[in-house]
Amino acid sequence: MTTDLDQNPRSLLVSERSSFRDLKNRISSQVEQLHLNYKVSLLLPEYSFDRSVPRTRIDEDNCVSLTPKGHLTLSLDKDSFEVLGVEGKPSRFNHRVKKRFVVSVDLTDSCMAPGGRGYLRLLAGLKSRLRLKMDFLLSHHPGGGASLQTLLSRHDWSEHRPEVSRHTLTHLSCPALLTSDLLSCDPHSFLEWLGAAHAHISCGNTSSSFLSSLVCPEPKTALSRALSVSVCGLLLPQDIHRLLQQIRVYLEESHLESWACLTVHGFVDSPVSWGANEHGVLRGGENFYSLLMFHDDVYYLHQATGAHDTCPP
């Protein structure tokens, strides 16, 4: 019994070090593969600033996603799946009883062309049998709004801007060996420290504190100030690419030993993460990556997924 109580669902953390100069670096394709990004947080040291959602929960409701490559994923409960009558497979997040099913459709396939066999079958299932109604969050490339107009004109819609928040952190203790050639602290304690910084949790405890014994990984230094910026909304991989380029320019211009840390959180209730792989919540629904960049183009990438998700690329 004791061993059972000590066990937890699987967690996976992939930690990678590479350089932007390395011709074989895969950062672009990795950024590209997490489509449904919810939040981007940036931490910059020694920098300060001078100047109703669809309530869909993937473990309770039906949830649909469509990626730019034309991959439609429907995560459905058992009843809806049976009514829809389209081929699918049981979710990896089922426990003993198969209560949730995933239908994956490649819309670029020839039989899914308007008027095609698969197209008519799916449409009939969605429109006359299942009568599924959903709210969608859509995002488009700059200038790509025109092509959406015809679609939007047939539905109720409203426009939302990403929400930006900034905090200047003062007297932040920080792991001292944040340099490109040697990252001494292990990935988990680094991510813990980063999480504490973004959540405004103080690391200034001692091991005997009653409330919390959270401390910054040793050896540490103190930063007089740091900037924490976050953007929330449906953010495209292209937006993140642009941001990455700007941070690299900033790092090249700034002094030595500078770094920046970019964290991208995927939607907790997204039916897919890392390409078209199935994603679920179970307890935390974590799917995020964190990119620690240095002025000499070396970077550390930490990719995390929750239980039952497949390994990140």
């Binding site: 937890n8 990678e16 070090r17 590479s18 350089s19 504490a196 959540a199 959180h265 307890r283 995390a304």
Partner: protein
């Protein structure tokens, strides 16, 4: 449980896959009380949770070293850190804590993750203007 996928002496590339290696789990919790005007300090909350652990698991439970990382007195919500192997014990004792000073109460576990970072980016908190 560490596996070196690829190593190349000439480049800086290195990839490590860590499976179930997280030393801690983090919980975002919220205490719901019958009488909403009741005030609870951070120390009170930690003592209350400790009592629950001791009632359910005895001295073994009382010895679990969890941390209250952050606490908001107005919303009675906070972040807990617990060693991964004690997560189930802490969670079950939170579930069974039904009374605070003779008034009915319940702990709502809002999010649990092996990464503190993922508690800072929960899309279920997204509010569209």
């Amino acid at each position: 449980m560490r596996r070196e996928d690829e190593t190349d002496e000439t480049s800086v590339f290195r990839r490590v896959v860590l499976k179930n290696a997280s030393p801690y789990h983090y919980m975002k919790i919220c205490l719901v009380l019958d009488d909403e005007s009741t005030k609870l300090s951070a120390v009170d909350l930690k003592l209350f949770i400790l009592t629950g652990l001791k009632n359910l698991f005895g001295e073994v439970g009382a010895a679990i070293s969890f941390d209250l990382l952050k606490y908001d007195e107005d919303t009675l919500s906070g972040l807990l850190r617990v060693p991964s192997r004690s997560l189930v014990k802490l969670w079950s004792s939170l579930t069974l804590l039904g009374f605070y000073q003779n008034q009915a109460c319940a702990f709502r576990v809002l999010q649990v993750s092996p990464y503190l970072l993922s508690l800072t980016g929960n899309s279920r908190e997204l509010k569209l203007d």
